[in-house]
């Protein structure tokens, strides 16, 4: 049998592209972090980008930065070509923000930057370095209580599969922060940058209208 089987009848997975056989797990993880990639599941996307671990040329951006996310200051090593969606999902562990098309054409990746909706797949993390970023994870209250829009989504059965839902909620939150009592048409317009493949649009509109009707002034997200 090949020398890399473990008696279970199938070979161990090989990470030859990242590390030699002699490297320990600790050394591997350190090396991965130093080379600017990520350890989590989708992190391979960052490591195959061909980016070296060294500092860029003089005058280029500093790779280590501190990002304000959901009210917390998060230090993170960010590649120049890294989008905000990639940083949030694969380096900060905030996978509530989804990647649908990665082309700014579906809205699943919608987050708030200084309270304004933004396709995080189409934003360089370095471009929002000093801004306040809010993701779906940042909406809940200090004791885990759901945001009024989140609760309304449940009460009105807004989502079907739920994949577009974080993006829809962020768009709704941005709208209600600016306009607490919108018309249905205004909600339609505000959510027009979010697609739903399940076709649950009407349910989303009902949920947002219900959240508005609840009357509470939604807290600044």
């Amino acid at each position: 049998m090949a020398d890399n089987t473990t008696g279970r009848g199938y070979p161990e997975p090989r990470f030859d592209s990242f590390v030699s056989k002699a490297t320990s797990r600790r050394q591997f993880i350190k090396g991965v972090i130093f080379s600017g990639a990520a350890v989590s599941g989708g992190g391979y996307l960052l490591s195959i980008a061909g980016c070296s671990g060294q500092q860029g040329s003089a005058g280029g951006v500093e790779r280590l930065l501190t990002l304000s996310v959901n009210g917390q200051m998060r230090p993170v090593d960010v590649l120049p070509n890294e989008t905000l969606a990639m940083t949030l999902r694969y380096k900060l562990g905030l996978t509530g923000t989804k990647l649908g098309c990665d082309r700014g054409e579906c809205g699943a990746c919608t987050v708030l930057v200084d309270g304004v909706t933004n396709y995080s797949c189409s934003t360089l993390t370095h471009a929002v370095r000093g801004r306040a970023i809010t993701t779906i994870e940042g909406l809940e209250g200090p004791n885990g209580e759901l945001h009024v829009v989140q609760q309304a989504m449940i009460d009105e059965l807004g989502p079907q599969c739920g994949f577009c839902t974080p993006g829809q909620i962020m768009s709704a939150v941005a709208l209600l922060n600016e306009k607490p009592k919108p018309t249905r048409d205004e909600v339609r317009h505000a959510l027009s940058g979010n697609l739903c493949r399940c076709g649950a649009y009407d349910h989303y509109l009902n949920a947002v209208m219900r959240a508005a009707e609840t009357g509470e002034r939604v807290s600044q997200a």
């Binding site: 391979y44 996307l45 960052l46 195959i48 980008a49 061909g50 980016c51 070296s52 860029g56 040329s57 005058g59 280029g60 951006v61 590649l79 120049p80 070509n81 989008t83 990639m86 990647l99 990665d102 082309r103 700014g104 054409e105 809205g107 919608t110 304004v116 909706t117 933004n118 396709y119 189409s122 934003t123 360089l124 370095h126 471009a127 768009s171 317009h189 505000a190 027009s192 940058g193």
Partner: protein, 334 residues
């Protein structure tokens, strides 16, 4: 999915125009001026265009904002977002056609980060070109769209010259209708270019959509006092109400006199988008309408004159009656 990660590049974030121009001049063809990124990242993620150096203009405060100028006009920084233009009370009150055009671009999120400078200097959307094939516009010597079976329903009615892609911008026709001026800073210093001359066709340079070359930065767009507060019309027709580029759009600015119901069009500038590789100034329509009564008859005649000489491709014949009707509505309903 692995193709979605952009190729590596060095990122520079200057905070002055001079710094940006110096960097872009140094990098030449390997550099790339980045505004909102909504056009650029598509190229980068598909790995079709792979600049080594990207200069992010987003940190240059001097490039943002709408300001009223001493000569009675308005100057808009090129990095001003489309949302800011849509909501600017100065633009809404004085140059409403531009606010209406900005409002119809793409989707809310794109308008929040997309800039007017990026919107007017964006590249062609022909899907063959975007796919990365070696067509004329990409430096090769063929065109896939201008063929009997090429999917060219979104392509041009005039100006075909090896390339049949159209100008996809919604704000560009509005700016040409307003007789705007573009301010460009490059290695040779600052220059001003009339909006109509800012956009170029394949007969001048098939690989560019505007006069901007490597090292140039569009810094501002000036709207003249002349057309402030005029009568305006803007309409965009697209497959969907959101996201989609125009199939045809129309922007008009008019000076109208006389009592309501018996008005005369004294002066007019009317521009159609997405029918040619540049925003098409409809000079024939202007000549037909100037000095005439603003009636349904004049509007109908204007519509007919607008489509003279249109040369449709195999799948875009519908653009002819569409343009005709948009012109008619512009004259009648402005």
């Amino acid at each position: 999915m692995s193709r979605d990660m952009m190729s590596a590049f060095e990122l520079y974030q200057p905070d002055t125009v001079e710094g940006a121009v110096e960097l872009l001049g140094r990098f030449g063809a390997e550099g790339w001026a980045l505004a909102g990124g909504n056009d650029s990242f598509d190229w980068f993620k598909d790995r079709v265009k792979r600049p080594k150096y990207v200069v992010d203009l987003g940190g240059i405060a001097a490039l943002k904002g709408v300001r009223e100028t001493a000569d009675g006009g308005v100057e808009i920084g090129a990095l001003t977002t489309l949302t800011e233009i849509e909501r600017s009370s100065v633009i809404q009150n004085r140059y409403k056609v531009l606010a209406e055009a900005a409002r119809r671009v793409a989707s809310p999120q794109i308008r929040n980060s997309g800039t007017i400078g990026g919107n007017v200097s964006q590249d062609a959307r022909c899907w063959y070109y975007r796919y990365g094939v070696d067509c004329y516009r990409a430096g090769g010597n063929t065109c896939y769209a201008d063929t009997p079976e090429g999917q060219n329903r979104e392509h041009c009615l005039w100006g075909a010259d090896r390339c049949v892609a159209v100008s996809p911008s919604d704000t560009a026709p509005a700016l040409v209708a307003l007789d705007a001026t573009m301010v460009v800073v490059g290695p040779g210093g600052q220059r001003e270019v009339k909006a109509e001359e800012f956009f170029i066709g394949p007969n001048i340079d098939i690989e560019r959509m505007t006069v901007l070359e490597d090292g140039d930065v569009l810094t501002a767009i000036k709207l003249p006092a002349e057309w402030s507060g005029a009568r305006f019309y803007f309409e965009k027709v697209a497959d969907r109400n959101t996201w989609d580029f125009p199939l045809v759009n129309i922007a008009a600015a008019m000076k109208v006199s006389g009592a309501a119901g018996a008005e005369t069009v004294d002066q007019i500038r009317i521009v159609a988008g997405a029918v040619q590789c540049v925003p098409r100034r409809l000079t024939v329509v202007e000549e037909v309408v100037r000095g005439q009564a603003k009636t349904a008859d004049t509007a109908s005649l204007a519509g007919q004159s607008a489509v003279r000489g249109a040369t449709p491709l195999n799948f875009n014949h519908f653009k002819i009656p569409l343009l005709q009707n948009l012109v008619m509505r512009a004259i009648r309903d402005a």
